[in-house]
Amino acid sequence: GAEPVALWHEAASLDGVAAVVLPGGFAYGDYLRAGVIARFSPVMRAVASFAAEGGLVLGICNGFQVLAEAGLVPGALLRNRQLRFLGRDISIAAERLDTPFTHALAAAGQPLRMPIAHGEGCYFADDQTLDTLEADRQVLFRYVDAVGGPAAEDDRASNPNGSLRAIAGVVNAAGNVAGLMPHPERAAEAILGSDDGAAIIRSLVESASRSASSGPAVAVAAR
């Protein structure tokens, strides 16, 4: 229901969009560390202002890494536990449905099948931060195991990157900026093997059209 527009990395403004998606990819090649260069791209200043004013921002995979590098969401993404890139299907479950990113999901705790494809997806924060995130309900998604419970940190099948407390996605304290490592947009049609991710995208689009009277949703090109 939204019109996607690509924004150039050197753009100074967001052209009045209703929401921002930072997509996956390898920003500027990510030779040093994922997202560490992209956080300095001019458009990120505009994204930060947009977020500060309450605008909705969703970072997927590399987009999550960029948001974390930019300090717009808590935590950091370290190299996968096995030190190898991992591309495979996993399951995540939403912790809460009362967010602009999850409200269209059928139920909290319900496994959602979608791919991961990253080399640096191990979610990390110190224990105190993790405790705070959990207390403040800022954990948005967790990797879940075969029976639907949160995956253990050493459960290679269900939490292959070794994310602490199986965290797959988080939201900022204000609740308007979220990031997740898995790819809901690659699991949004049955022909691709799963459409479990569609409800996450739909949540964002519906929230954006509710909160903004005009303007299209936007994807920022991760170069």
């Binding site: 996956g24 990819g25 390898f26 500027y28 090649g29 990510d30 030779y31 096995q82 190898r84 890139f85 991992l86 591309g87 495979r88 791919p115 494809a117 080399g119 790819h183 947009e185 690659r186 949004a188 049609e189 022909i191 691709l192 093997g193 170069r223």
Partner: protein
């Protein structure tokens, strides 16, 4: 380094140090009107007359291949084959080797292999949508092999993942013949609007020659001549500077700039810079258009100071592109490149004299007729001689010695199946392909690991289907049969999804062509490839020849790597190999022929010596594939899997494991249990179908003149195979009388063996 300091023994004359023979030097003099080439010219000839660039040994053979076909809009000689797929769209595809660079520096060698083949695709105006990589190594338990596998996999992934093109399939094969010379063959597929087709020509004297992309450095000096065109002597560090270094982010920018230039109609011709660098790009584009090019050496952006003219002219620095641009469009071209942050420069002009001329500071440094470097390069008539001791294939239909029964060999059929499923060549490849991004772009319907890859085409109901296959095991005994079987398997893998094969690309990996036996293998391989493609009515639209695949350990088994692309009209109707529903009937179409040589079973059991290779009947194969496509189109088929590595037992086990359903079958036997269960004779497909469709399915198979047998049904939690009534040929109810062998394994056991085999073989378990 000056040119006189080129590596290798300094006492040799320069042309030999550059890899040219005395005869070739004479031929060069001929093409220069009798005069001596200067050092720069000699360097330019040395890369362009390398095997890699000139195909000087293989050209006469390749000329015999069928290249015409329905919808072909670009064939051999262009950077990639292009075939129309309707709706104004076309598919561009090609496979290429990067064997020797990967042996020297596996990570960069493989990475730049991916980069090079992607450039061949977008040079045509196509957006790359998929990569398949066919990898071959020696013993997986060997430390050096493990180093190579790890590096190559990281290289393929590091480049493809970063540039954002999904790696959706390929092969991983271990064979002792690759111990000193691994094979890294990469296939890329692209999609284009047919009207955007761009050719690599330099028309219009007065037009500008524009170079954009990375700057030119000393990396990859003489890659084509030094690395790709000589026999390998172990891990030679002196060759390391000849391996190029890849920059996938620069490639991503190069894709966007190239496609934007094409989309806006700003270029007259486009050619990527690969082997032979600027020399190759200018001479090939000029020769194709019947023009010349004057290169202004001083205008070429450099990565480092003090480069010699020859270094600039033959550098194989990666991620560079050459465009032919009308003078009035230069400003627009420059704007596009600069917006994407890529260096761009006018490095020359198209001329009408037919020569590649190189000038610097007002002086002319070189002048060579463009055809002399490309279409009129030397062609060698090599000697082909079959080896003296060749093992004949058993005559079709002749059973093996009936005593060749598994129990007599002390082998339990179930244990054999588990050993095969866990063997390095048949076990799950997930430990490797999970290091690739197979879903980027959100078009991957079927990714790596379960047969051919399937990619939907956005905005249509269609999908492209692709497979790469190469049969070196049969080829080692009979290179003709090995090549024909490779084509049969690659096309079969495409057909069993329901797709119609469109065309063939090939990467011919062989040994030293100056050795008559190796050249015989190549010529037999090309003959097999041609015969098979003619039988299928398929065009060979391009590919690559990689010779000198030898090491002190010996030559590789002849390896014709075949890439096939097919078209599925309705992606929703795609059929996979996994069993779908309890109660579905399991039907075998086609019948085995004797011969275990080259099979995974023979490698395991060591029975090949007294045996032969199975035979291939191309007419039956063509009928089989036509049958399965029609059956799928009519909706009769729930799943389809070809019988390949590991034979019928492995095909059934894969269908069961991947579908999560067991199966119970009875196989009427005409030959030894080993041939029936584990033989790899071609032209067989296991299909499952809802019981109500079985009569129609059997009838359709018979209408296509194919043997067909209902073996049993899908169901339960185990795979049970009974071999019944050896030799019985009567009505099916009589066959149930004698059970000669029984194989019964729970699905969990199959899966465990299959899942862990590769990681265990490579020592990755627990990493």
């Amino acid at each position: 380094m000056t040119i006189a300091e080129a590596p290798v023994e300094q006492t040799e004359p320069l042309h030999r140090r550059l890899g040219l023979t005395d005869d070739e030097l004479d031929a060069i003099r001929d093409r220069l009107g009798g005069r001596e080439p200067n050092d720069l010219e000699l360097a330019m000839f040395s890369v362009m007359w390398s095997e890699h660039c000139s195909y000087k040994s293989s050209k006469p053979l390749l000329a015999t291949l069928p290249t015409a076909g329905e919808g072909v809009v670009a064939g051999p000689g262009e950077n990639a084959g292009v075939i129309s797929i309707g709706d104004g769209l076309a598919v561009a595809f090609k496979i290429e080797s990067h064997n020797h660079p990967s042996a020297v520096e596996p990570g960069q060698g493989a990475a730049t292999g991916v980069g090079g083949i992607l450039r061949d695709i977008f040079t045509m105006g196509a957006r790359p949508i998929a990569v398949l990589d066919a990898l071959r190594f020696g013993n997986p338990g060997d430390a050096r092999t493990r180093h190579l596998v790890d590096g190559v996999v990281r290289g393929v992934g590091g480049y493809g993942n970063c540039v954002g093109i999904p790696t959706v399939g390929g092969e991983l094969v271990f064979d002792p013949s690759y111990q000193g010379n691994p094979l890294v063959n990469v296939m890329a597929i692209g999609l284009l609007e047919e009207r955007r087709l761009t050719l690599a020509a330099a028309p219009g004297p007065g037009n500008l020659v524009v170079l954009f992309g990375s700057t030119t450095g000393r990396d990859g000096i003489g890659g084509a001549s030094v690395l790709a065109s000589a026999t390998f002597t172990d891990d030679d560090p002196s060759k390391r500077p000849s391996v190029q270094v890849g920059d996938p982010f620069a490639e991503k920018l190069l894709i966007e700039v190239s496609l934007e230039l094409i989309d806006r109609g700003l270029v007259e011709g486009l050619q990527d810079l690969g082997a032979g660098g600027i020399t190759c790009a200018t001479s090939e584009t000029a020769d194709r258009a019947g023009t010349g090019i004057n290169v202004d050496l001083d205008a070429i952006p450099r990565r480092e100071p003090d480069m010699e003219p020859f270094e600039v002219m033959i550098s194989e620095s990666q991620e560079r592109m050459c465009a032919i641009v009308r003078p009035d469009r230069w400003d627009a071209v420059r704007e596009v490149a600069e917006r994407w942050g890529l260096p761009v420069a006018i490095i020359g002009r198209v001329t009408d004299d037919g020569d590649i001329a190189v000038t610097s500071d007002g002086a002319e440094l070189a002048r060579i007729p463009a055809p002399a470097l490309t279409s009129d390069a030397i062609v060698h008539r090599r000697l082909a001689r079959a080896p003296e001791h060749r093992r004949a294939a058993p005559a079709p239909g002749v059973p093996l010695d009936p005593s060749d029964r598994l129990p007599e060999r002390g082998m339990d059929p179930g244990a054999v199946l588990l050993a095969l499923l866990g063997s390095p060549n048949l076990a799950s490849r997930h430990a490797v392909f999970e290091q690739y991004d197979s879903t980027v772009g959100a078009d991957t319907v079927v990714g790596p690991g379960h047969g051919a890859a399937v990619l939907r085409i956005k905005g249509t109901t269609k999908a492209l289907v692709a497979s790469t296959d190469g049969n070196q095991a049969v080829g080692a005994v009979d290179p003709y049969a090995g090549a024909a079987m490779s084509v049969a398997e690659a096309t079969r893998n495409v057909s069993i999804t329901g797709a119609r094969p469109l065309g063939v690309t090939n990467c011919l990996n062989y040994g030293d062509p100056t050795r008559p036996e190796a050249f015989w293998q190549l010529s037999e391989g090309v003959r097999g490839l041609g015969d098979a493609c003619r039988a299928f009515g398929l065009p060979v639209t391009g590919g690559n020849v990689s010779l000198y695949n030898e090491s002190p350990a010996g030559a590789i088994a002849p390896t014709p790597e075949i890439g096939v692309v097919g078209l599925l009209d309705d992606v929703a109707a795609v059929v996979g190999p996994a069993f779908v529903a309890e109660g579905d009937a399991i039907v075998l179409v086609g019948a085995p022929t004797p011969g275990l040589t080259g099979s995974a079973y023979a490698a395991l059991a060591g029975t090949a010596a007294e045996d032969g290779i199975p035979s291939l009947d191309l007419n039956r194969e063509v009928a089989l594939q036509a049958f399965v496509r029609e059956a799928i189109t009519r909706g009769l088929v729930a799943s389809a899997q070809d019988v390949a590595g590991g034979g019928l037992a492995v095909a059934l086990a894969e269908g069961a494991m991947w579908g999560g359903h067991g199966a119970s079958v009875r196989v009427p036997t005409a030959m030894s249990p080993a041939v029936e269960l584990f033989g790899e004779s071609p032209s067989r497909i296991v299909v499952t179908a809802a019981p109500r469709f079985v009569p129609a399915l059997l009838l359709l198979a018979r209408q296509h003149g194919l043997p067909v047998e209902e073996l049993g049904s899908v169901g339960g939690d185990r795979l049970q195979i009974q071999l019944v009534g050896a030799g019985a040929t009567g009505a099916s109810e009589e066959r149930g009388s004698t059970i000669t062998d029984t194989l019964e394994v729970p699905l969990t056991g199959l899966r465990h063996a299959w899942d862990h085999g590769l990681a265990r073989a490579l020592g990755w378990e627990g990493s």
